[in-house]
């Protein structure tokens, strides 16, 4: 691709040092939004404006932005579930072996999102499901919010009375997307370590959806709840027990500012290998990679695969005590705030490696390039899935390896083969 002279001009509306330091270290030049810019690290509000019909914005070939126009197909809780359900149905219709179900009607390979309904739209369907298991707990999440805001747990129908269309006392809940909720079956048997609940935060970079090319950041982490986990109903209101979001845990009495309640994924791996064995640990990590790729494949057909875009997602995953991973949600704008010194270093390196892939050589971009960076620039990223390369392996590769054995890949240590190595189901 053509190399253009001049320094990259950048804009951002997110004032975070981990970003700005990375721009400055590349010798990029800060400009204002209304000037000519090459790179814009936007908040999700801004991307909405940039790509809205009214704005009539047209990006030129030397402009790169950090979100896909309709990322919310993946990052809004209700749309993510909708897209995954649609994807599964399509596979089923095609007769794909991936959509195979077990004797209870559950998808064998594609059951990775907890049972979820939209409220108020699916209220009646939800009630039907709820009554099948009246002692279950459900988690209510507002569709449009983040950082654990507005989330609460329920175990009685009366607690969500106001979403009931039948309720006489309910005020009419606006159907606007801002006030919609999703209600999901709460995973009340999470894997506990040291008696504490945790979730996994993994960073995934997507440079293109069609063909799908995505990278997994090796340095993900576990976020622990500071309080001992208990499924007891008396503690349903105690958000410190149930929600792992750092934004919430930060205000708990026991929050520690040195380690921030976080473990690296390699710690987790060491612990699981030592206490559970290598095969089940490898299988767990394989499954985690699998569900991430499936979630991206699910939204790929509806994504606006704008060539000016890349996106770094924050995936939240919970592992249950049977070592099954569940996809909880995907964040379009993973927090760039640092809660500890280690955190700051991690996020700085994350942005650095992301920029190396998205803006090759730190030079003025040409969005017509093939988005295939050489493996030397990946840094702490590893190829998670490369559709082009996978297709060159043959049409049935997905299934063939999915039911195959683990090749004993050592977790996230990439071998020097240049081929995608994270998944054994290539």
């Amino acid at each position: 691709f053509r190399i253009m002279a001049g320094k990259v001009k950048w804009v951002t509306d997110i004032e975070k040092s981990v970003l700005i330091n990375n721009f400055e270290k590349r010798g990029w030049i800060q400009v204002a939004e209304n000037e000519d810019w090459n790179f814009y690290w936007m908040s999700v509000q801004t991307i909405r404006n940039v790509f809205s019909v009214e704005a009539g914005y047209r990006l030129s070939d030397d402009q790169v932005v950090n979100h896909f126009p309709n990322h919310y197909e993946l990052t809004r809780k209700d749309l993510m579930v909708k897209n995954i359900k649609r994807y599964r149905k399509e596979l089923e219709k095609e007769g794909s072996p991936l959509a195979e179900k077990d004797e209870n009607g559950k998808y064998i390979y594609l059951d990775f999102v907890p049972v979820t309904f939209m409220l108020p739209a699916d209220y009646n369907l939800f009630v039907e499901e709820f009554r099948k298991n009246p002692s279950s707990t459900w988690i209510m999440k507002p569709c449009g919010k983040a950082q654990g805001k507005g989330i609460f747990l329920i175990n009685k129908l009366s607690q969500i009375k106001k979403w009931s269309r039948d309720s006489k006392t309910s005020s009419f809940v606006s159907q606007s997307s801002k006030e919609a909720y999703v209600i999901s079956l709460y995973i009340n048997n999470p894997l506990l370590i040291g008696g504490k609940k945790f979730d996994l935060r993994l960073y995934v970079l997507v440079s293109t959806y069609r063909p799908l090319r995505c990278y997994m950041y090796k340095l993900g982490f576990c976020r622990f709840c500071t309080v001992k986990y208990t499924p007891s109903t008396s503690e349903l209101d105690n958000m410190f027990v149930h929600l792992t979001n750092v934004a919430i845990q930060k205000h708990g009495d026991d929050y520690n500012h040195i380690h921030g309640g976080k473990w690296t994924v390699s710690n987790l791996r060491l612990y699981l290998e030592s206490t559970r064995g290598k095969e089940v640990t490898n299988k767990l990590f394989d499954e985690i990679h699998w569900i991430i790729v499936q979630s991206l494949k699910a939204v790929a057909p509806v994504m606006n695969n704008d060539k000016h875009c890349f996106e770094c997602y924050g995936y939240d995953i919970i592992i249950d005590d049977k070592l099954k991973p569940w996809l909880i949600e995907v964040n379009a704008s993973p927090s760039l705030t640092s809660s500890t010194a280690n955190d700051r270093i991690l996020k700085y390196n994350l942005i650095n490696d992301t920029l190396n892939i998205a803006v090759p050589n730190g030079e003025i971009p040409d969005c017509k390039w093939n988005k295939s960076p050489p493996k030397e620039v990946l840094g702490n990223y590893e190829v998670l899935y490369d559709e082009e390369m996978a297709q060159s392996d043959g049409p049935d590769h997905d299934l063939r390896s999915r039911s195959g054995q683990s090749t004993g890949v050592k977790g996230s240590r990439a071998r020097d083969s240049g081929k995608p190595v994270l998944t054994t189901w290539k």
Binding site: G195, K196, V227, K228, H259, E273, T275
Partner: protein, 525 residues
């Protein structure tokens, strides 16, 4: 007087037999033998032989072998039968004396803390408090009692000062200090090994032998070493052979096999009576409140709670340590330890033995804490975790906290470290000494904590594999020297103790096996 080897052997046998006679293994063997009488293959004419065969094929003989092996590992060989028991604890009189004074100092400090705070050393807990503690047993980490008035009884550097001042009164060294003498902080003439001897002792760490921690890295195809090593490890576990396991782990444990291998070497099988014993300790904790509990609590908060790896296991640490300080079976190790536990009595029960509580002589718990924490990565069942820790303590870690002449004792380790450094990196040693940065001042805290809290957990576990494999702590001193060798270039440029500390502040990225291998086998001496 030299002990005739046959006499020594029969003494050893007698001692092992005596120790095993009272054990649960003995009663299990008896039971098994009795049960076997019903079996058709046991014939009256050849009763003894048949039972022996039965015990062999059913795996009981192997269990007995492991128990004997364990005893031999833990207890020292007997010296002359006329030697008094103190000599088994510690043969050198001046060392015993020093340990005695150190203990007195600690006890005095503890007692004065009690007086100051008007808290007894030990008291019975009121019933409501007992109930509360029982409810909170699994989450003691969330308690926030006021611990501001408790201070750690001593810091590692206090202990180091005591060691520095050790002198053998029978050793007259009238020479002026010169470069030929030992220029380090430890000034007692204990015998320590040199590199040729260490190379022999640690021969399995040699360059031509496969190691986990080196030959399992991502660039090495697993067919070269790792796969075979794992296979052998699985076989060792299937055979349940302690001695074979100990030999095997010298090349490192595969992560998935480590927990079982260590348990096999330490001869821990977590029988129902072991679980019961642990529950009993737990109820002791519930019923009685000890002053040291607060010290433990404070130390856990200061150390493990702030550690990137260990904070998750905070609650397990309280459980293990509170039980440990009430565990009288630990008293046994005092027969071969130079230390003697100070004893106290529950308030109001002075002199009544069943109300005695002893204090492990090391009440500086942060060293304890850091030696429990890595084990949480391997064992999540509390009673098993407890037993593994207890066994690690009575075999190894107690030697880091008491003054003795034992080759794995902290004094010898310090001397070994200093000697290695002075002999093989003399320029570095002199330079650091000149700028007031005696190397031991920096490495002491690493060794006294067996590197826990300094290395990444996976590296620490690889190091402790070798402690178990070689039944010795000497590797800690070798690693400490190897770290200095590794950072020698930077250290040569510093001009103060603080700067030297800074160069060596962060060991979390070090890979221990390559460091050890290079230092022992690849350095030109």
């Amino acid at each position: 007087a030299m002990l005739d080897p046959d006499r020594g052997l029969s003494l050893t046998i007698a001692r092992v037999v005596q120790r095993l006679q009272g054990s649960s293994l003995h009663s299990q063997l008896e039971r098994q033998a009795r049960v076997s009488l019903h079996k058709p293959e046991i014939k009256l004419e050849s009763l003894k032989e048949d039972i022996k065969d039965f015990l062999k094929t059913s795996g009981w003989e192997k269990k007995l072998q492991n128990a004997v092996y364990s005893e031999l590992n833990v207890f020292p060989s007997p010296c002359h039968p006329a030697a008094p028991p103190e000599h088994i604890k510690e043969p050198l009189a001046y060392m015993r004396k020093a340990q005695g004074s150190w203990e007195k100092r600690i006890l005095k400090s503890l007692n004065s803390m009690c007086t100051e705070l008007s808290i007894p050393l030990a008291q019975k807990r009121p019933v409501t408090e007992q109930k509360e503690l029982l409810n909170k047993w699994n989450e003691m980490g969330t308690d926030e009692p006021d611990l501001s008035l408790f201070r750690p009884v001593y810091a590692p550097k206090d202990f180091l000062e005591v060691l520095m001042n050790l002198r053998n009164p029978n050793y007259e060294n009238g020479e002026q200090p010169s470069f030929r003498n030992h220029l380090g902080l430890i000034q007692v003439p204990l015998k320590v090994k040199d590199i040729p001897e260490l190379k022999e002792d640690f021969s399995e760490l040699g360059l031509s032998i496969g190691q986990l921690g080196i030959d399992d890295s991502a660039q090495v195809p697993p067919e070269f070493f790792e796969n075979e090593h794992v296979r052998v490890g699985q076989k060792v576990l299937a055979e349940q052979d302690s001695a074979a396991a100990q030999q095997y782990v010298r090349q490192g444990c595969p992560t998935a096999l480590r927990a079982d291998l260590w348990a096999l070497i330490l001869n821990i099988s977590n029988q129902p009576e072991d679980i019961l014993y642990y529950e009993q300790l737990k109820s002791n904790v519930i019923q009685h409140d000890l002053l040291v509990d607060s010290l433990i609590y404070k130390d856990v908060k200061l150390t493990a709670s702030n550690d990137d790896y260990y904070f998750v296991f905070e609650d397990y640490l309280y459980q293990v340590l509170l039980c440990f300080s009430r565990d009288t079976s630990v008293l046994e190790h005092f027969t071969y330890s130079s230390a003697t536990p100070p004893k106290s009595y529950i308030q109001g029960k002075l002199g009544m033995e069943e109300y005695a509580v002893f204090y492990p002589p090391n009440v500086n718990y942060n060293s304890f804490i850091l030696s429990v924490a890595p084990l949480c990565f391997l064992y999540h069942e509390p009673s098993k975790l407890y037993q593994i820790f207890r066994e690690m303590y009575v075999r190894f870690f107690f030697r880091l906290h008491s003054i003795s002449s034992h080759p794995s004792g902290i004094v010898s380790l310090c001397l070994l470290f200093e000697t290695l450094l002075q002999t093989h990196l003399p320029q570095l040693f002199y330079h650091l000494r000149e700028i007031g940065a005696q190397p031991l001042r920096i490495s002491f805290k690493w060794m006294v904590r067996a590197f826990s809290g300094y290395l990444a957990t996976d590296q620490l576990l690889l190091l402790w594999d070798r402690i178990l494999g070689y039944n010795s702590l000497e590797i800690l001193a070798v690693l400490a020297a190897a770290v200095f060798a590794f950072r020698a270039v930077n250290l040569m440029e510093v001009t103060s103790l603080a700067a030297a500390e800074a160069v060596l502040a962060d060991l979390s990225t070090l890979k221990v096996m390559p460091l050890l291998q290079i230092f022992l086998f690849a350095t030109v001496t």
